[in-house]
């Protein structure tokens, strides 16, 4: 296997601006889209700057050779006044670029400072400018430009400055949102405490963050400005004597039956220029997006040989995971291994704890059992056998969804970590409980509703009827977590996978929720896999425990013996960090590693 194992490293936090910029330009030049964009724009800028030297003729001199085709004295032919089209194209680039620059300049000049102030200080300036923004965005640009033209006549600078005002909300919103999010960062607080003036904080910390998105937006605005400016001229609202592309299109359109080519050249020029700006914007965005998801197509023939042949060992366990390896393709071509040859099992009436810090691969292995890994995840080796069903499809290196769709929700269920984000805010809690039961247990709506009430009572909710009718935003986090537990047991599963089920809850609620889980298990005899970073929870509820670090299991066994006599230094470290901290609920060491594939 040509796999390059990418050692998971922390993403560099707070890269300095210069490093980032050099990287962006480099990536931009590697991207064909970026190169094309730059070439187009360089050609256009050169045409504009050197128009006097490049143009073979005076662009305004009318002759008697009207609407001539290409070739001869006029390389691209002549327009309806006998003026040389090529020369007019060169000079037209000037007006086009001035339009783009003016519009983008004015828009940035208004949107950037307004967005910074509104995002940084908030209060009345924020309300006022947001309100003004909404009004500007409700105005159809074209209609406003017509009104402006009616007053000031065909003036490119004034029209484009007004257009700049019209599109400034784009910059305002962008900068305001970015500023708001940066303002709450700790390093900005630190800078403030250190006594830096607001102006310096904005100039140094916030400006660096908004610079890239502003440049991208500016490229887009340049394209739109050119489009509007030439559209106005096309409508006959430009200065007919000016050598601009829009005026040329207007002229060409009126002679369309006699000389269609006169229309073609300026049309191409405009489309290429706008295309150049759009491509530049897109390429910049691509270059700035660090976490490009790479999907690797797995050719079944080549990879099947590599994978260890699956021998269907008869297992007595409810669930057995053997030598499981999960990898993600990386932009550079290698693969990042997040779960590396992990084996464990769980039986009925048993709680297996999987412990480790964030990024250790514990949630990834749980999601593999559920078949809910992200699309680009590859299960490159191992097997997962649930009650005799092998769910890893070794050929596609993915979890076999046709097997899992029969198991998921029916025999294997899931209790998520964050209660509020795991309920659909648009539906009542009742309907979210009833729907799976109707589908899975094939019972009627009213039966399911009755059952849902019983379940809600069983997880300790005092007024089940009211919770049933509530929307998720109307209940507390602890309540929502109980609802999710009720949902997980509603279809009488054999196996429950609980991913940090108490982490997002208050300490007092944590204990209650664990009690609920334990009591339900006593009645229903499921196997439970409890993923957590908290040894307190493990000590409280688990029978056996597997400790994970960097995608591997460092130690597993009976919970008592591991708590009393941990063999592995990593387990010892985890335990110490918990016992030394006075309460059993403190977080484990927070090594910010592994890059968020949790």
């Amino acid at each position: 296997m040509s796999d390059v194992e990418v050692v998971p490293t922390a993403p560099a936090v707070g890269q300095s601006g210069t490093v980032k910029r050099a990287g962006v330009v480099g990536r931009l030049l590697k991207n064909p889209m970026g190169v094309i964009a730059i070439v187009i724009l360089v050609v256009i800028v050169a045409s504009a700057v050197f128009a006097e030297f490049l143009a073979p003729m005076d662009p305004t001199r009318a002759t008697n050779t009207v609407l001539a085709g290409p070739g001869g004295a006029n390389i691209l032919g002549t327009d309806s006044n006998g003026r040389d089209i090529l020369s007019r194209l060169f000079f037209g680039a000037q007006g086009t670029l001035v339009s783009a620059a003016l519009a983008a300049g004015v828009a940035i000049g208004i949107g950037l400072p307004a967005g910074l102030l509104a995002g940084y200080y908030g209060s009345w300036f924020d309300s006022l400018s947001s309100w003004a923004t909404n009004i500007l965005m409700a105005l159809p640009n074209m209609i406003v430009l017509l009104a402006v033209r009616a007053v000031v006549g065909p003036s490119i600078p004034i029209t484009m400055m007004i257009f700049g005002i019209m599109v400034s909300p784009g910059f305002f919103r962008l900068v305001r949102t970015a500023t708001q999010s940066v303002r709450n960062e700790l390093y900005v607080d630190a800078a403030r405490v250190a006594g830096l003036s607001d102006f310096r904080i904005m100039a140094r910390h916030i400006f660096g963050v908004v610079r890239a998105p502003v440049i991208i937006q500016a490229a887009m605005v340049c394209g739109i400005a050119i489009s509007f400016q030439s559209a106005l001229e096309f409508l006959g609202l430009g200065d007919p004597s000016a050598s601009t592309w829009g005026v040329m299109i207007n002229d060409g359109f009126r002679s369309i039956y006699r000389q269609p080519l006169a229309l073609l050249w300026p049309t191409l020029a405009i489309s290429f220029t706008i295309g150049g700006f759009v491509l530049l914007g897109n390429a910049l965005r691509d270059a700035l997006e660090d976490q490009v998801k790479v999907k690797e197509k797995v050719a079944a023939a080549t990879t099947s040989a590599v994978i260890t042949e699956v021998v269907k060992t008869p297992t007595t366990h409810l669930l057995e995971v053997a030598d499981l390896r999960i990898q993600y393709p990386q932009p550079g071509g290698g693969r990042k291994t997040v779960v590396d040859g992990v084996s464990w099992y769980v039986d009925r009436d048993e709680v297996l704890g999987i412990v480790g810090e964030s990024g250790s691969g514990k949630s990834q292995s749980a999601f593999a059992v559920l078949g809910l890994l992200p699309d680009n995840a590859l299960v490159t080796s191992g097997q997962i056998i649930f009650d005799g069903h092998q769910t890893v499809d070794t050929r596609s290196q993915r979890i076999n969804q046709s097997i899992l769709s029969e198991l998921r929700g029916k025999r294997i269920s899931y209790i998520p970590q964050e209660p509020m984000s795991n309920l659909d805010p648009s539906f009542t809690i009742g309907s979210q409980l009833v729907r799976p039961m109707v589908k899975t247990l094939k019972i009627s709506d009213s039966e399911a509703e009755k059952r849902a009430m019983d379940l809600l009572a069983a997880v300790g909710i005092k007024d089940p009827r009211r919770t049933f009718q509530s929307y998720p935003h109307q209940v507390s986090g602890g309540m929502a977590q109980r609802v999710l537990i009720a949902g997980a047991i509603s279809c009488e599963p054999d196996l429950i996978i609980a991913d940090e089920p108490t982490t997002a809850l208050d300490v007092t609620v944590q204990a209650e929720v664990l009690d609920v889980i334990r009591e339900l298990q006593r009645e229903l005899h499921q196997g439970i896999i409890l993923v957590t970073h908290n040894f307190g929870v493990v000590a409280d509820i688990c029978d056996r425990v597997a400790v994970m670090q960097n995608g591997r299991i460092v130690e597993q066994g009976d919970v008592r013996s591991i708590l009393r006599t941990p063999q592995d230094p990593y387990t010892q470290m985890l335990l110490e960090s918990m016992l030394v901290g006075k309460t059993p609920m403190t977080k484990l060491i927070t090594q910010e590693s592994m890059g968020g594939l949790q």
Binding site: M142, L146, A150, M220, I256, V278, S405, D424
Partner: protein, 313 residues
């Protein structure tokens, strides 16, 4: 919910008022030039001053604005300086055609862009790449060039449709259909591509949320998750995209009506602009913004209804 609608309505009326004041000031602030523009360069100073008096341009701007607002509340927007026709009548005669085109266009954009955007978000792969490329092309080719190309290809070369509208007040529906097909296509192509791209992003954003994974873990079928849950959750973002598209269409229709010589409000706006017929220009601005305010209000109500936090309170 009622107080929510009331608030949105109030803010819409406020917006209309502010726009009216600003536009009026912008249009009429240089009254000397206005009379000069109408009379031409050859006219004497006296003639220009007389014209200004005749049009009431010698009165203070604030007074004129007050008058205009008072009349506007009673739907009186003054008379055209050139035809002397009331602005209300002039726009009223042109509005149905423009509104028909814009409404057909926005419905088409809504349907096609949603289909494309959702397909791209769910299937990814080739469908996704097509939508992305379409979005880049749509952003690169201005709407009026799309219109010109369509005329060249389908009206002049292939002769499938008329290049110039045959619509008159007593046209038959078939004439309407054949005259409006190309303009509407020209109007929607760019919108479909850019809206599809935005709807795709909104849909993907929802697909990546935690509750979708939890729904899957409950054994709910993928189809039901997509169409009952995700589509609904992405709807507010989609409606906002469409409301912005609608505002763009009101501008785009100006160009398309000119290319196809359609007698709509857009043509009226261009003619009024060329002649500096300010009452008419003012009327077109107010009508356009009023239409946008109504559409935004409808979108706000729809979004409020979709959001239980607003609906239930």
């Amino acid at each position: 919910m009622l107080s929510f609608i009331g608030k949105r309505l109030l803010s819409g009326v406020m917006a209309l008022f502010v726009v009216a004041c600003l536009t009026f000031t912008l249009l009429y602030v240089s009254s000397g030039n206005i009379a000069r523009n109408i009379m031409g360069d050859q006219a004497t100073e006296e003639a220009v001053a007389a014209k200004a008096r005749e049009l009431g341009l010698d009165r203070p701007l604030l007074l004129r604005l007050g008058d205009w607002l008072l009349n506007a509340v009673q739907l009186r927007f003054g008379n055209s300086w050139f035809t002397n026709q009331p602005v209300f009548t002039a726009i009223g005669a042109r509005l149905p055609l423009t509104l028909t085109m814009v409404l057909v266009a926005i419905v088409l954009i809504g349907i096609v862009a949603t289909l494309l955007g959702v397909t791209a978000a769910v299937k990814r792969g080739a469908a996704d790449r097509i939508v992305q490329v379409m979005a880049v092309l749509a952003a690169s080719i201005p709407g009026f060039i799309v219109g010109i190309v369509l005329v060249l290809l389908f009206a002049i070369q292939l002769r499938w449709f008329p290049a110039i509208s045959r619509i008159s007040p007593n046209s038959k529906p078939a004439d309407w259909a054949s005259s409006l097909t190309l303009p509407v296509i020209a109007l929607v192509l760019n919108g479909i591509a850019s809206a599809a791209q935005q709807i795709r992003s909104a849909f993907i954003k929802q697909l990546e949320l935690d509750y979708v994974r939890t729904l899957r873990s409950r054994g709910i079928a993928e189809r039901e998750i997509l169409f009952r849950h995700v589509l609904r959750a992405a709807a507010p973002a989609g409606l906002t995209v469409l409301s912005l598209q609608f505002i763009g269409l009101l501008g785009g229709v100006v160009i398309i009506e000119s290319i196809f010589a359609l007698p709509g409000m857009g043509r009226l706006a261009v003619d009024a602009t060329t002649q500096s017929d300010l009452p008419l220009v003012m009327g077109v601005v107010i009508y356009s913004v009023a239409i946008v305010v109504v559409v935004n209000l409808l979108v706000d109500i729809a979004n409020g209804w979709l959001n239980p936090k607003v609906r239930v309170s």
